[in-house]
């Protein structure tokens, strides 16, 4: 039964369902009379009313012109839910720091730590480190001081302590567990790297334009444009540069055409790429090269991986900051002159990055002890003074961080053909407390292997020291009891230690150091028993939980896993649309449509069991895709950098994690990377049939009669499985909240719940996956065009115009009653439509506004619009996503027969290929709303402005 709703008519195309009963806000419908009639025909309005029940919803629930009934939430609906109650960050120690005492130190970006109670003023700028899948920094969005509460001190066997409330969840190997369910002996995840205390650096200018006097003005402009000149010690960019300079001094090279190259492992290169991007430069993809080496007459091969940046400005900047150019061994460089005046944590950035490249890992020398990690450095004899000076400065810098080093050694090294060579070497003193301090406050950067090993060594050492302390206490007590007259045999019974230990303690006196007990594991044994996660956390046993009294507790919220209401179920599969331009004119494709249809249908996998462009992948590769987004496609040869630059979010969602994506979802994905799927998903070759806004069209690379390719598909089985899995988990874990809502499909993960955070991360991972999926389909289309037109795709200018997801929840800032607020904007069957000038619009389109891609249905026109300011005001920056379904699929099959539809379309010179006739019937033009009317209304309301219209030539369906 379809309910009748009384709507208030606000303006020509705007209607309102007033707030009533349990609705938290009204619902706003954007439609013409004609479209409204259709909207009234199904349960769209009832569903629109249901979604206004969400807690934390702002302004109104939007119903767009193409809206139709969905599962739970209408398709073509937008809601914005507030970021209000909180947030968590397992930042500091792998613990969730939801309710912590004020002195708990939070690990911040750039290896700093700061007590949580002092973070209040830092909310807009500070970026705590989050132990997600990798250890990553994320924006902080709120700070809360709460009333006094009963707290408990939790101490692990390795000495990490934290004070928290009983409801405070701790990360364990099995997920988050509230403190009240934990006891001594249980294992929690800790993150031993602590960083150094945060301090404000002395503010001075490191480089300004004068330092680039006489350089190419273009180069200087490239730096000023990126806000890198003048460069001050307090600039965020400077900290990133310190790391890059440090690492480059170890494992980098410059060439004289302006290229800068970094050599590292693949995973670490990805971090370097991200940092280069953060500075506004474009890193290359990861380059692999097999190299042959010969050492002592033994030839062997290894693969060298590198990343470079071709910008001369970038190279010059690093050189000016003290990265040595030319052959390093022949250079006279020392540490950068400014470094002495920096804050301790900044010095550590430079050092740790250099050590990531050049310092050895700590390794076991004999069972329970370690060699000290060492740095070796070669210089030709001519430059040995500079080399010695450089090493000496490193030692001094470490001393200023309270790290003791061993004496500097110098000896003649293997000299090369032309030069006598000197080698210098020093190490980090391996005294336990010094070694632990080095590994947990400075350590290594850009080197995950060494970072992980450092954590194992630090934890092992702490554990060993704790065992030794315990033995020392036994020895002391034994001596005391013996002196008081207890017989040795009673002592032996009393303590659970070997007899010899008691004897030595009470009789021989002790001039040697107490050693750990014999059954204490050797490092190698410990090492193979524990795993450090990629996010640099490691399991630790809880030693004690003690009452700590009542005190104020604190809470910070991090963008990464902001606790909020998250409507789960209606963010389904992250499906979206991308359009690729070509330089082909309609005339060039005429007569080749059938041929093109055949090859595309053959080469682009669609439907069940058709396989995928990427073939059969492993679960590990699926995870990489989820974490890296389009970068994965670039690294694997399916995309170029230009594709990333023209994608929404540049093809990469941060805050993605695969930890809570089920194996089922990953297994479904493994064979579907690069496939259309079925239903309404398609690939269509179109011609631009009309241009409405010439200037914007030119910016988008569109001209009349040009051939373009539109691809509409999503994250396939992975996205659906993630959705189903979370829906069920929410049902099981949040029954009460769910009962408040009128429809079970509207399940949400409420504020403060683990699920909310896990779901957000899993959804971002699915979005990354969806981009890669569409990219691979596009890659395949490029190859098909190459076959038909016998030219490379580059010659045909087949560039990505844009790719946008239209089933998605995103954290964004919006104006809510005159105030900028963080909200989760849920767009179900709705496209983001940000205007010109918005910083989230990719640079390529920032002057004109984001492309809004509106695919029609088979046989009808598609449109490209641009985002507008009105959309920001009226629909949280959202616009329609397509024509919207008018007739159910079942009805369609009764009314249409696939073969007829196909013939009709072919008469209009539209060539369709699908896995089954019923798909064609279900997607026949007649089952959709009139896309022209949808676009007309969208344009008239102003939530999108028409730029171009396209008509179909060839359509491939799943």
């Amino acid at each position: 039964m379809v309910e009748d709703f009384d709507l208030q008519h606000l303006s020509e195309y705007e209607w309102e369902l007033p707030q009533d009963g349990e609705m938290n806000v009204p619902a706003r419908v954007f439609a013409s009379e004609k479209l409204l009639e259709v909207i009234r025909d199904d349960r769209t309005l009832e569903q629109a009313r249901n979604i206004t029940h969400f807690p934390g919803i702002h302004k109104y629930a939007c119903v767009l012109p193409d809206a139709h009934q969905g599962y739970g939430m209408p398709v073509g609906g937008v809601v914005a839910l507030d970021v209000e109650n909180g947030g968590i960050s397992p930042g500091a120690v792998g613990y969730d720091i939801n309710c912590l005492s004020g002195d708990a130190a939070v690990l911040l970006e750039f290896g700093r730590r700061k007590p949580i109670q002092e973070l209040e003023d830092d909310v807009p700028t500070e970026r705590p480190v989050v132990a997600a899948d990798r250890s990553t920094a994320s924006d902080m969005q709120l700070f809360m001081e709460k009333e006094e509460q009963e707290t408990y001190t939790v101490e692990t066997e390795t000495g990490e302590t934290v004070e928290a409330t009983t409801d405070h969840p701790f990360q364990t190997a099995d997920g988050m567990v509230p403190l009240e369910n934990l006891e001594e002996g249980d294992t929690v995840m800790v993150s031993p790297f602590q960083g150094l205390p945060d301090e404000e650096p002395e503010r001075f200018t490191v480089l300004d334009r004068d330092d680039f006097d006489g350089e190419d003005p273009q180069l200087v402009k490239a730096l000023t444009d990126r806000d890198l000149l003048p460069l001050r010690t307090t600039d965020r960019e400077f900290n990133i540069l310190l790391k890059l300079v440090g690492f480059h001094t170890g494992d980098g090279a410059f060439n004289n055409t302006g290229k800068t190259t970094f050599y590292a492992n693949k995973e670490d290169l990805k971090t370097i790429q991200r940092d280069i991007r953060q500075l506004g430069f474009s890193p290359s993809s990861i380059y692999e090269r097999d190299r042959e080496h010969e050492v002592d007459g033994n030839a062997f091969e290894s693969t060298e991986t590198s990343v470079s940046c071709g910008s001369k400005a970038f190279q010059k900047l690093l050189i000016k900051l003290g990265a040595p150019g030319g052959a390093k061994v022949e250079s006279s460089f020392t540490t950068p002159s400014y470094i002495e005046r920096l804050a301790v944590w900044q010095k550590a950035l430079y050092l740790s990055a250099f050590f990531g490249a050049e310092m050895s890992k700590p390794a076991a020398v004999y069972r329970k002890n370690f060699y000290c990690p060492t740095v070796s450095h070669n210089r030709v004899e001519m430059e040995q003074e500079a080399g010695e000076q450089f090493m000496h400065e490193l030692k001094q810098l470490l001393a200023s961080l309270d790290i003791e080093t061993t004496a500097l050694e110098a000896f003649e090294a293997d000299s090369n053909r032309d030069h006598e060579m000197m080698r210098f070497r020093f190490g980090i003193s391996s005294k336990p407390e010094n070694l632990v301090r080095f590994l947990t406050t400075v350590g290594y950067r850009y080197n995950l292997d060494k970072q992980k090993e450092a954590i194992k060594v630090a934890q092992y050492t702490k554990k060993k020291e704790a065992a030794i302390r315990q033995r020392a206490a036994v020895a002391e007590e034994a001596v005391q009891l013996y002196n008081e007259g207890t017989a040795p045999k009673d002592l032996k019974q009393r303590f659970d230690v070997n007899d010899r230990f008691i004897e030595r303690s009470i009789w021989s006196g002790r001039d040697t150091k107490i050693r750990p007990p014999q059954d204490f594991p050797d490092f190698e044994e410990y090492r193979s028993d524990v795993t450090v996660r990629d996010n640099l956390t490691i399991p630790a046993e809880i030693g004690s939980i003690d009452r700590a009294g009542r005190k104020p507790v604190y809470d910070i919220g991090v963008d990464h896993e902001a606790h909020n209401f998250q409507a789960n179920s209606f963010v389904v599969s992250n499906c979206g649309v991308r359009v690729m331009t070509t330089n082909l004119a309609y005339d060039e494709i005429r007569g080749k449509e059938q041929q093109l249809a055949n090859i595309l249908f053959q080469k682009v996998p669609s439907g069940l069991g058709e396989g995928a462009v990427a073939g059969s992948l492993s679960v590990d590769e699926v995870e990489d895709i989820c974490l890296d987004g389009l970068q994965w496609a670039v690294d694997n040869g399916y995309a170029v950098e230009d594709d990333m630059e023209h994608c929404e979010d540049e093809g990469f969602r941060e805050s993605a994690s695969v930890e809570h994506i089920s194996d089922k979802a990953k297994n479904r994905a493994a064979e579907q990377v690069g496939s259309l799927g079925s239903g309404n998903h398609f690939l269509e070759v179109q011609r631009v049939s009309d241009i409405y806004d010439g200037e914007t069209a030119a910016q988008y690379g569109l001209a009349e009669d040009q051939v373009v390719v539109t691809i509409h598909c999503g994250s396939r089985g992975l996205g659906h499985q993630v959705c189903s899995d979370f829906l069920r988990r929410i049902e099981q874990e949040h029954q009460e909240e769910l009962e408040e809502l009128p429809d079970k499909e509207l399940a949400f993960a409420p504020a403060g719940s683990d699920l909310e955070q896990q779901y957000y991360e899993a959804m971002n991972a699915a979005i990354n996956f969806a981009w890669v999926n569409r990219q691979l389909v596009m890659h395949q289309a490029r190859k098909c065009f190459e076959r038909i037109f016998d030219r490379s795709w580059q010659e045909m200018d087949m560039h990505l115009l844009y790719d946008v997801a239209h089933n998605i929840a995103k954290k964004e800032e919006h104006d809510i009653e005159g105030e900028q607020r963080g909200v989760y904007v849920h767009r179900k069957g709705s496209t983001r439509a940000f205007p010109a000038g918005h910083e989230d619009v990719p640079e390529a389109y920032r002057d004109v506004g984001q492309p809004v891609l509106i695919p029609g249905s088979m046989g009808t026109a598609s449109y490209i619009l641009k985002g507008t300011e009105t959309a920001m005001q009226k629909t949280f920056g959202s616009s329609a996503h397509g024509a919207g379904r008018l007739m159910s699929r079942t009805q369609a099959k009764e009314d249409f027969w696939g073969g007829d539809v196909q013939d009709d379309l072919e008469r209009d010179n539209i060539y369709v290929k699908a896995q089954s006739g019923s798909t064609i019937a279900e997607e026949a033009p007649g089952v959709y709303k009139d896309v022209d009317e949808v676009v007309r209304v969208t344009d008239a309301v102003g939530i999108g402005e028409k730029v171009a219209q396209m008509r179909p030539l060839v359509n491939i369906k799943g």
């Binding site: 599962y71 069940l608 189903s724 896995q915």
Partner: protein
């Protein structure tokens, strides 16, 4: 449940055209009957997607357990091929889900996402 399973595959293909050449085990346990139906359909979609099997006949037992309900048994059908037309079912949904009786007959109702 046997009929529900068949119905899901009827959405994907014409089950009458299928032959029973392969058999798989299906076992799902959930906290209540609706959830069981949801999880059962979820499992069938998973089988279709990863094992590429289209099933037509089911031999199932549904029983009450300590944790709720359990469905256990087998499904048989044939692998996806060009011989039979097919389309994907993406996911089960809770939209208008119901398990009830009508004129003495058990009626299970569910919308699936296609």
């Amino acid at each position: 449940f046997e009929q529900a399973g068949k119905a899901v595959f009827q959405v994907m293909t014409d089950v009458d055209q299928l032959e029973t050449v392969e058999m798989v085990n299906v076992a799902v346990e959930s906290e209540n009957l609706e959830a069981l139906l949801y999880d059962f359909v979820d499992e069938l979609i998973y089988i279709a997607d990863t094992e590429r099997l289209l099933l037509k006949e089911f031999d199932l037992v549904v029983e009450e357990t300590d944790a709720g309900y359990r469905v256990d048994g087998t499904g048989s059908g044939e692998p996806v091929s060009s011989r039979v037309r097919h389309q994907e079912v993406k996911a089960p949904t809770y939209s208008d889900i119901s398990i009830g009786e009508d004129d003495g007959e058990q009626v299970l109702r569910m919308f699936v996402d296609v």
